[in-house]
């Protein structure tokens, strides 16, 4: 337990217990301080990457259960590094934005928030499939409660739908994990990859196909990939602001992370053979999500559908199977986390003032609340992929990657970029411009310092990630290069008679 990663992982859990044990009055403060401490500590995780370059750092590998052998094996590489930091960054921000919003069962709320953080970090650092699955499911419970207790009118439907949808996917993944274990005798990711690399562990085509499918299905639901996305709008609309933020910013990334971490390197052949229809679904999702977002009268729903669209890019990038694609996809995960997280946060600010999520109830907000408007517009612009802001980088890389494989993919996916401007700006216009009603003016205070503190870090990151990509991208790149190399060597090894279709990735 001496290394930093263990502490970053353990502190939220300790916090969870502490918040339950401590009196209600201090719950907020304790959570805020603790999550800030975790955030600061998590920044320290970058150190070995700076000093020694890419690799698996902070490895802890101790046995947990003897039979079947399950190990507490965690480590951090360039792929998970920023996702962990994203989680630790957003948790204190979520405490801030819930300061006034959450006024019932404050203690439970913060406890669940910390439990969620614990689960999320765990998902990103687990190097043992079983451990990964455990954390994967652990995330489910706090989010279920966050939506169900503090959500809006249809929260129960949304919470249950969220839980069941995810559960349906993850049980299949569990089957695949057990199958892998029965076949390989280990749950350890590093071991598994190693065995596959050395040809000690091989699958028949059918085996690989079904295993891939089982993992893919679980991840695709989480992403969510069209047509498995319908839980998302409901969950987002009904969740409290902090829930939406965590859900959009980090939880959806569990799915895409899983695709990169597991689906691509472990089942390279199947991944390539199935790339066509997966990419088709991703592209349908991009356009479909954008079109449906275009006509949403409800802000949160609009942002939720925009997530469907944005995450289509991530999937497209992953299944392009090249460096730019994976880099773009991972970068886009972070981008989406920052900008959509911020969007939900800002929509939450509006809701706190006006108690409505219907765009029609707004109009002219820019007059009484210029700072809020500015923040919203900047975030919107990031979201529509304006260069110099973060999303552009990810989308650009993904589209470039897909162009290297099949230019038609790019053509259709890029239509989504056009549409994104449509729905986002339309919402901005209807919400912020025009004449404000007297009633609206009365309710619409501008951002207060607490809200500024919550949003400014994200705005800053949007710009930074758009301009100085070299702060983040090299680590991601190196990790992806390794995954790509693992995935490629896997294909070469197994493809005794090279399948021309699989070879060129189409």
């Amino acid at each position: 337990m001496t290394n930093l990663l263990n502490w970053v992982l353990a502190l939220p859990l300790i916090g969870f217990v502490a918040v339950i044990a401590l009196p209600k009055s201090v719950a907020r403060m304790v959570t805020l301080l603790l999550s800030l401490v975790v955030f600061v500590m998590s920044l320290g995780l970058v150190a070995p990457f700076l000093e020694r370059g890419n690799g698996n750092w902070f490895v802890t590998d101790v046995p947990w259960i003897q039979s079947p052998e399950i190990r507490y094996h965690i480590s951090l590489d360039g792929l998970s590094l920023w996702l962990v930091i994203l989680s630790t960054l957003l948790t204190p921000i979520c405490v801030l934005i819930s300061w006034k919003y959450i006024d019932t069962r404050v203690k439970e709320f913060h406890a669940f928030l910390l439990l969620l953080e614990f689960g999320l970090i765990g998902v990103f650092v687990s190097m043992d499939l079983f451990l990964f699955y455990v954390f994967w499911e652990v995330c489910l419970v706090p989010m279920y409660f966050l939506i169900g207790i503090w959500g809006h009118d249809r929260r129960i439907y949304a919470a249950v739908k969220f839980f069941l949808y995810t559960m349906a996917g993850s049980v299949l993944m569990l089957v695949a994990i057990i199958y892998l274990y029965n076949k390989a005798g280990t749950f350890d990711y590093v071991n598994l990859i190693d065995l596959m690399q050395r040809g000690r562990l091989t699958f028949t085509q059918t085996e690989q196909f079904y295993l891939f499918l089982a993992f893919f299905f679980a991840f695709a639901i989480k992403v969510p990939l069209f047509p498995l996305h319908t839980w998302l709008p409901d969950a987002h609309v009904e969740a409290p602001t902090a829930g939406s933020v965590m859900l959009a910013a980090v939880m959806l990334k569990m799915g895409t992370y899983g695709l990169v971490r597991f689906c691509v390197p472990m089942f390279p052949q199947a991944a390539r053979q199935n790339a066509d229809w997966i990419v088709t679904l991703a592209i349908i999702g991009i356009i479909y999500g954008a079109l449906v977002a275009l006509v949403q009268p409800n802000m949160k729903k609009l942002v939720a559908y925009s997530s469907v669209s944005h995450l289509g890019f991530v999937v497209l990038g992953i299944f392009s199977f090249n460096q730019q694609g994976l880099d773009g996809a991972v970068y886009q995960m972070l981008n989406h986390g920052i900008s959509t997280g911020a969007l939900f946060m800002l929509v939450g600010f509006l809701y706190e003032r006006r108690h409505s999520l219907e765009i029609a109830d707004y109009g002219g907000v820019s007059t009484p609340a210029p700072a809020l408007t500015t923040a919203f517009i900047v975030t919107t612009l990031a979201s529509v992929g304006l260069p110099t802001l973060n999303n552009f980088v990810g989308e650009f890389l993904v589209l470039q990657a897909s162009a290297l494989v099949n230019i038609w993919w790019t053509v259709f996916a890029a239509i989504g970029v056009i549409l994104s401007a449509g729905y986002m700006l339309w919402m901005v216009q209807r919400t912020f411009f025009g004449e404000a009603t007297e009633d609206l003016r009365h309710h619409m205070a501008d951002l207060n310092p607490r809200e500024v503190a919550a949003i400014v870090p994200l705005l800053f990151l949007m710009l930074w990630m758009g301009v100085k990509t070299q702060t983040f991208l090299p680590y991601i790149s190196q990790a992806n290069a390794r995954i790509l190399q693992q995935s490629q060597s896997g294909v070469e090894f197994r493809a005794a008679t090279p399948n021309p279709e699989a070879a060129n990735g189409r």
Binding site: T230, Q323, F392, A421, W426, G434
Partner: protein, 620 residues
């Protein structure tokens, strides 16, 4: 790099600084300070441009400066690189020079408006992106500027946030530009696929040895897609619809962004990519035809507009069409030449119009003007300079560049020349019409016109001088010769006379209609009936777009995708699984009748089944 670093980054950065200062703290500053910062930073850029150009001398080769790596992934490497060559130099001078003048003008024009600081912050931000666009040494940097100016255009068109029409126009501009950018980005992706780089130098070096494509190949596709981008930004058919609406923005914005600088970015980009275009003749033809068609169509619409800014807006579209015609026929330098002269006279026209509007406290409808010559004489004087320049009266600015273009067109295809001449006549007509309706005859409005302050007409005077002498003084085509070799061919004097005569005819006709016998236009309009209506209503293009694209998209998304597909089919399936499960449950529960004998019957049946399966199976 033969030359030492010129710190080119300072050129865009100064306006950015202005943006940051005004944007963050401007609200607390007095207007004067805000204005000083805004104008000062842009003027600083201008000075730095001049200084750099002096230091760089003749600019025989491009001067490139690399600052840091922006994006690196696999073999994709994009640097934050800036570059100056002769083309850039021209554009830089136009942008910073005219930019400075318009900034000065705006301090006067906007002095009574709310959000003064915000306006200048946006304007400075625009300068930053525009300069990035011009200075960028790879396509991606250009694209950054490209999108950035689009953003600023969006913000400035929608500057009057309380006006719904302004918001709509802004959104429209952004989205239509996005459609163009779609082409631009695809072109870039293809470029990387084929050449593995976005750097101008690398790409062009790889393209240069390639043969001219006789049938559509990658170069043609890249060129066409680039042109789609250019058509979006430079308002060409079919993406021109946003520019007339963009006049919702404050007039200095119209002058700077929607006349002098941003809208010419497309021309700049096509000229910049001339190496590619020259090897894709089919794409060149498309460019030429689209340019010409735009020129004609916009000119006809301009004939019948009553809003003074709309007239000039359609004029801008038309003139941009000319520039593309030039590029399309291979006369890139003529195109850039026209960019420069057009920047002079169109900025002047808009600013002058702004001065008129300012004088009339916001009135834009020409039917409510008239007879202003005596009331605002300075404005009239400067506008008259622009008038002669755009009408192609020799030896003023417009004459030179238009002449170059028409000659090149004739060289390419004579019919293009004749259409161009007709357009020139129309151009002369509608500008003259605007002038006559505004300044001649009797005053038809009810405001009390007053002349603009010096900060406003001062810049106008400078532009007036440039409009008059700019064409003759700046021999752009010669300056650009290292980049764009001049087309050989005899300089046919007759063609020049014909075009000048056409211009003169246009002016004369306008005089006849609007000064000599003002009743004539109405009767002609009546006699033309449907045709007039068509032109007056801009060929119903907006309506057609709405009916053919926007409405089907929105309604289809709402009713088909959202309500039917998402809520109905997909969620229906999901909920269907739920209700199916419940019905299965309900069915299963039916067996639980509560009756002991029926339970026993089930046990017995189960027993028989197991017996059959196990006992009998084993008996075989």
């Amino acid at each position: 790099m033969e030359h030492a670093s010129q710190q080119l980054w300072l050129i865009p950065l100064l306006p950015l600084l202005g943006f940051l200062i005004n944007g963050l703290f401007g609200r607390r500053f007095p207007n004067l300070l805000v204005g000083l910062i805004a104008v000062g930073t842009v003027f600083g850029s201008f000075l730095w441009v001049v200084k750099s150009l002096q230091a760089l001398g003749a600019l025989e080769h491009a001067h490139v400066e690399h600052y840091y790596t922006w994006l690196e992934s696999g073999n994709l490497n994009i640097g934050v690189d800036l570059m100056i060559d002769r083309l850039t130099a021209v554009m830089l001078l136009v942008v910073t020079g005219i930019g400075t003048l318009i900034h000065i003008y705006a301090t006067g024009y906007m002095s009574h408006e709310g959000g003064f600081y915000r306006f200048f912050a946006y304007l400075n931000l625009f300068m930053f992106f525009m300069l990035t666009l011009v200075l960028g040494a790879n396509y991606l940097m250009v694209f950054v500027g490209w999108e950035g100016v689009g953003l600023c255009s969006y913000l400035l068109i929608g500057f009057y946030t309380l006006k719904k029409s302004a918001g709509d126009a802004a959104k429209k501009a952004f989205i239509v530009n996005r459609i163009g950018d779609f082409g631009f980005t695809l072109a870039m992706f293809l470029m990387f696929v084929h050449f593995g780089s976005f750097d101008f130098k690398t790409v062009f070096d790889k393209v240069a040895p390639m043969a001219v494509e006789q049938t559509a190949g990658p170069l043609t596709w890249i060129a066409l897609l680039l042109f789609v981008g250019a058509a979006g930004k430079s308002a060409q058919i079919p993406l021109y619809v946003w520019l007339p609406d963009a006049m919702e923005g404050p007039t200095p914005v119209s002058a700077l962004i929607h006349a002098a600088t941003m809208v010419t970015a497309g021309v700049y980009m096509v000229a910049r990519s001339s190496v590619i275009f020259l090897r894709a003749p089919e794409a060149m033809d498309v460019v030429a035809v689209v340019g010409l068609a735009t020129a004609v169509m916009a000119a006809t619409i301009g004939l019948a507009q009553n809003d003074i800014k709309k007239v000039f807006a359609y004029s801008t579209v038309s003139q941009l069409g000319y520039m593309f015609l030039a590029c399309g026929v291979g006369a890139f330098s003529a195109g850039i030449y026209h960019v420069v002269t057009h920047a002079f006279f169109k900025a002047l026209l808009f600013l002058g119009a702004g001065s008129v509007i300012h004088a009339l406290e916001g009135e834009q409808d020409m039917r409510h003007m008239g007879g202003l010559m005596s009331k605002i004489p300075i404005t009239f004087a400067v506008l008259a300079c622009a008038w002669v320049a755009i009408a192609g009266v020799p030896p003023f600015a417009g004459f030179y560049s238009k002449d170059e273009i028409l000659l090149a067109a004739h060289h390419h295809h004579p019919w293009m020349y004749w259409v161009g001449v007709a357009t020139a006549a129309m151009t002369a007509f509608y500008v003259s019409r605007a002038m006559f309706m505004t300044f001649f005859g009797k005053y038809r409005g009810h405001h009390h016109p007053h002349e603009s302050p010096f900060v406003m007409w001062g810049p106008l005077a400078v532009l007036a001088v440039l409009s008059l002498a700019g064409g003759w003084y700046f021999k752009i085509p010669h300056f650009l010769e290292p980049l764009f070799p001049l087309a050989e061919g005899a300089h046919d004097e007759t063609l020049v006379y014909i075009s000048v005569a056409a211009g003169a005819a246009g002016i004369g006709l306008a005089w006849l209609f609007y000064v000599a016998s003002p009743a004539l236009p109405d009767s002609i309009a009546n006699s033309l009936g449907g045709l007039y209506k068509l032109v007056y209503n801009k060929y119903f293009v907006d309506e057609a777009y709405n009916a053919a694209i926007v409405n089907p998209l929105v309604n289809g998304s709402r009713s088909l995708l959202w309500r039917v597909m998402d809520a109905g089919v997909i969620d229906g399936a999901v909920n269907g699984v739920g209700s199916l499960s419940r019905s299965i449950g309900g069915f299963v529960r039916l067996f639980q009748s509560g009756n002991i004998r029926s339970y026993a019957a089930w046990v017995t049946l189960g027993c028989v089944a197991v017996l059959v399966a196990l006992g009998m199976a084993g008996g075989r």
